[in-house]
Assembly symmetry: C2
Homo-oligomer: 624 residues x 2
């Protein structure tokens, strides 16, 4: 039986299998907090055509059911079926690529002209079996055979040597040896059987952790998993994590939290594909500098103290064992190099995935995640800076702020006459809060319709009950019912303006540092999960993105994990990552002359200097 | 107050300190099983001059007390004192060098023209402190500073990197780095304070374990410790250990046993000198191939199976952490390379200490320990073989055999007329058994006085009650009292003849392999604790040692630990050890044509061909 998706993909399903299982088997993961028991009501899909048996409607409301919504875990197709997976049902992170399966990434590899060349190399050796006349030790026999192939200086770890006597005899002296560029031997296996080779690419985000499982023989992406970073219970942003690690001595707790996240995801992936952890022969990790330090158990204290010095930017290739990862203990772990305390390996990975470092055109790379990092450059040069935008777009510090999950207002339209808002809510449920893209929409709309002025203050002349005096000052009421209200306060708006001003000023200043204007930018890559949801027009009205032609903007999703995956697969791309990191010039904005001026100018909607936002200016005059 | 010893050494003692403590403080260790409580009665010394206060006579007999014997732990000098330490009171192993302190070893180093060049090298770096303009990471700063000194490719272990942020700041950016030849960084310390540098040299014998503590700054031997190898509870010889490790799955038990022995000895040494385990920066271990494999937790199974292949001969420089040793976890462990399954690193160490590999003269090196290994050669060439002599000289398989401890018959003289034996017993106590040197003496005497014939059988014509029929056949009664008898049976004699024949045949065959005769041997080095007690004349009568001029024989004590110590101190000598191991040719006697013939001929007293033993022949004709 077939399951056809509105995305154009068709999957196979077996009789009796429910939709949740069928989708999962094909690498498509739905939110299912209860694990497929029909309780959480998260794995909603819409049946467009075809028959199915529905065990229970779960928590679905009558109008949902009327609209064809059903819970995937409770639904067993009775024949071919055509379904739509609403955005909110998909696991938010990595789903873009998970849905398109590994095809996209293999395309990217092809585009990058990357050979499949994993971190662990292989050599096959045929040893002469020992005799009483030639009874040198097993290790010397192996070394002799390597020397015959001009391979000298191999480093043999103790546990490896512990196993060779048996391995060599079991494989009848014909072996395949896995080793790293640093000449550390990783494994030995019989030469005649095809060795399974797997790798993990890990994106350690401040908010989310994503793991990709790759087949290193053909480079295929086999599966993905993602979860929130459990470190969140210790604070939302990197600064609170550093404080927790250093002042409360919580470094190991934070480390354990994220390692557990990664291992839980890996375990699920390995179990699902019946992969032995010993066959995970290499791992790539990418994260911002603080996340990378915590992952390796390095005290991040000095990242936060002037002159902002990380302990390591270019990490040695330590072993999976050292990181306590679920993999062959000797598997090398390649860590994407960091640039500085606030521009990490995630950005290097992102730039790599964007390919901007290979082109002549000047591009702007923006990663708007828990923080904001920007890169400008091309194949000749790259400059970067961190904008202390803060995590407000992820809901932190905003009265009714929340992440982009069910119940979040994600789009807003305001009636120019009545000032009544029309809300787009994730999951088509009642609003429970407002997420980053909702905030951008809301502020842009309020500004465009004259509800707030250029400074983000409510316009007193507006006649609407929606504006009221809250306990923090004036606020706009977007939604209310008996149990819940959703507002944006002037204080919220101030916070959002500060965040967007930090980003815009960062880009602006970075351009100035290299003597260019916004018009020099030929392409803008917007990376990060949040980036994908942004309405470019609204973000320009907000003054967060520069007012340049819309066709220059490209959303590239989770470029960090893509970059990590590329490094897992290709030697050339690992080297490119190193080159990117080496040649990228870091500009410390906080000490740059002119930053405060740029920032202050950007605190307005869209900007103090309206000439910088010609299309917004026109829009405003058109709307009057 | 002074303590003068009959060996010529004078030591200082403080008021109130007992002799056991005073000797220990000066590196002289007495047997004191009870730990100095006056109970075991082992730490006997003889006072020749001077007054002392004796707390308790302990278990001493009136005749001991009359002879000036006292227990060192119960005796506090009241002024200058002159004492003799009976042989049986000294800790048997390593005492020779412990008594002469480190002077001998430093002399040896001087003789060998060895510089003090420990395994861990040092470099001092002055780093530029970070600023906002120069805020590369700590590790890159360290690397940059190393590169300025043309040092590239350093390998930084994870735990090391974990500590550098603090270390660099604590030492105000002026640091001393300790690293190995393999470019693994071992430690970092402030440049302005003198770093304590210590090392351990370990001899892992089948029967005994010896640890030397060295100061790596000046090369001085600071202290020594020795104990029986606790693996003995699993069997006396290497074969029973291999069987236990492989067939009973007891590898880890055996490993734990010997590691615990080494660590117990090390702990005592470190505590005594208030040394921090982190400051033990390198370790050298030497042992036979089986002991070395077990030490590293490597399955010794294939050592015992034809074609007798060890897993490793040349061991990688693994870390102290891997060996679970009490030292800096990153301290490199240098393992003396092994030659083959039955000629190990102990022999390489012994040859190194003997210096035979540096001279033109052809020398014979014999290590008669639990097994017998022999080396013949000079600076041009070296050949080696193992003789399966078995552990009978250590008492194993001999009815009343025992090790050379109190109560062991160590010398025998037989009256040519009455055939009554006069016994030398260790500790001047009643005989409880017979040790290796006693066996050699006894058989040589019995043969010389006509009690046994050339085949080792009792001569029926001899009129003495000492020869009687025991339950195993004929035996000679050396000692009896109400509670105890000490005999040598014909079966015992057969065993001993087999052992001595194996040794002699080994030497003989090895000489034949290189086309030389016994007269070509210019010097014989006898190594091993047992070797030191042998009466050369008697061993020649037995036919264990070749009948060559007595002045060619040299006893060199525990050459294994000496060699290990030399490797700990000097890079040149480590390299020499490697060269010795590489150029030594191993001859597998068990498959050599002619071995059985040689062996059978050597089963006689002293040999089938009396022409090979001209002085014994003369002695026999003189005694007739």
């Amino acid at each position: 039986m077939d399951i056809k998706l509105t995305t154009g993909i068709t999957l196979q399903t077996s009789k009796g299998e429910n939709l949740l299982q069928a989708l999962k088997k094909n690498g498509i993961y739905l939110v299912s907090s209860c694990g497929g028991k029909g309780i959480c009501g998260k794995c909603r899909v819409r049946i467009l055509e075809g028959k199915s048996r529905i065990a229970s409607p779960g928590k679905l409301e009558p109008r949902d059911i009327k609209a064809g919504i059903t819970l995937a875990c409770q639904t067993v197709p009775r024949g071919n079926i055509f379904i739509d997976i609403p955005k909110e049902s998909k696991l938010v992170i990595g789903d873009r690529i998970a849905l398109s399966k590994s095809g996209d990434l293999l395309e990217l590899l092809k585009f990058l002209e990357a050979n499949i060349s994993p971190i662990v190399r292989q050599i096959t050796l045929t040893l002469t079996p020992p005799t009483i006349e030639d009874n040198i030790s097993d290790l010397e026999r192996l070394r002799r055979s390597l020397e015959e192939k001009d391979m000298i200086g191999m480093r043999f770890a103790h546990e490896f040597v512990s196993s060779i006597a048996q391995s060599l005899r079991d494989s009848e002296w014909e072996v395949t040896l896995g080793y790293t560029v640093g000449n550390d031997v990783v494994y030995i296996s019989p030469a005649d059987t095809k060795k399974d080779r797997y790798g993990l690419a890990v994106d350690i985000g401040t908010t989310t952790v994503v793991v990709y499982l790759a087949n290193l023989t053909d480079g295929a992406l086999m599966d993905t998993g993602s979860t929130y970073n459990s470190q969140m219970r210790y604070g939302d942003d990197v600064i609170t994590r550093i404080v927790y690690a250093t002042e409360s001595g919580g470094l190991n707790e934070l480390r354990d939290a994220v390692i557990t996240d990664i291992n839980d995801l890996s375990s699920t992936l390995l179990e699902r594909h019946s992969i032995n952890k010993e066959d995970v022969e290499s791992v790539v990790v990418a994260g911002n500098t603080t996340m990378t330090h915590i992952f390796w158990g390095l005290n991040p204290a000095y990242i936060r103290e002037e002159p902002y010095v990380p302990t390591v930017n270019f990490f040695p290739r330590w072993r999976a064992e050292t990181a306590i990862l679920k993999a062959n203990p000797r598997a090398p772990v390649f860590t994407l190099p960091c640039i500085a305390s606030y521009v990490g390996g995630d950005i290097v990975a992102g730039v790599l995935a964007s390919k901007m470092h290979r082109k002549s055109e000047i591009a702007l790379f923006m990663d708007i995640g828990t923080n904001g990092e920007i890169v400008i450059g091309n194949k000749e040069w790259l400059v970067t800076a961190a904008c202390s935008a803060g995590p407000c777009f992820e809901g932190s510090g905003i009265r009714h702020g929340m992440r982009a999950t069910e119940g979040a207002v994600e789009s807003v339209n305001i009636d120019p006459v009545t000032f009544e808002p029309a809300l787009g809510v994730i999951g088509d449920v009642k609003a429970t809060g407002i997420c980053g893209s909702g905030m951008i929409d809301a502020i842009a709309e309020m500004f465009l319709k004259g509800v707030i002025d250029q400074k983000g203050k409510f316009v007193k002349e507006i006649k609407t009950d929606r504006i009221r005096e809250g306990f923090e000052g004036p606020e706009f009421l977007f939604f209310r019912d008996n149990s819940r209200e959703v507002v944006l306060t002037e204080v919220d708006i101030e916070n959002i303006l500060r965040a967007k001003a930090a980003i815009y000023a960062g880009v602006s200043l970075l351009l100035k540092e290299v003597g260019l204007g916004f018009d020099a930018i030929e392409r803008v890559y917007i990376a990060g999960g949040f980036g994908n949801c942004i309405d470019v027009d609204k973000a320009i009205i907000l003054g967060m993105l520069p007012d340049i032609p819309r066709e220059k903007f490209f959303f590239i999703g989770n470029a960090c994990v893509t970059g990590a995956y590329l490094c897992l697969i290709s030697k050339g791309l690992r080297q490119e990552a190193g080159i990117i990191a080496s040649k990228m010039t870091y500009i410390e904005l906080s000490v740059s002359r002119g930053f405060m001026e740029e920032y202050m100018s950007a605190l307005f909607l869209p900007h103090t200097h309206m000439r910088l936002f010609p299309t917004v200016k026109k829009m405003l005059s058109d709307s009057k």
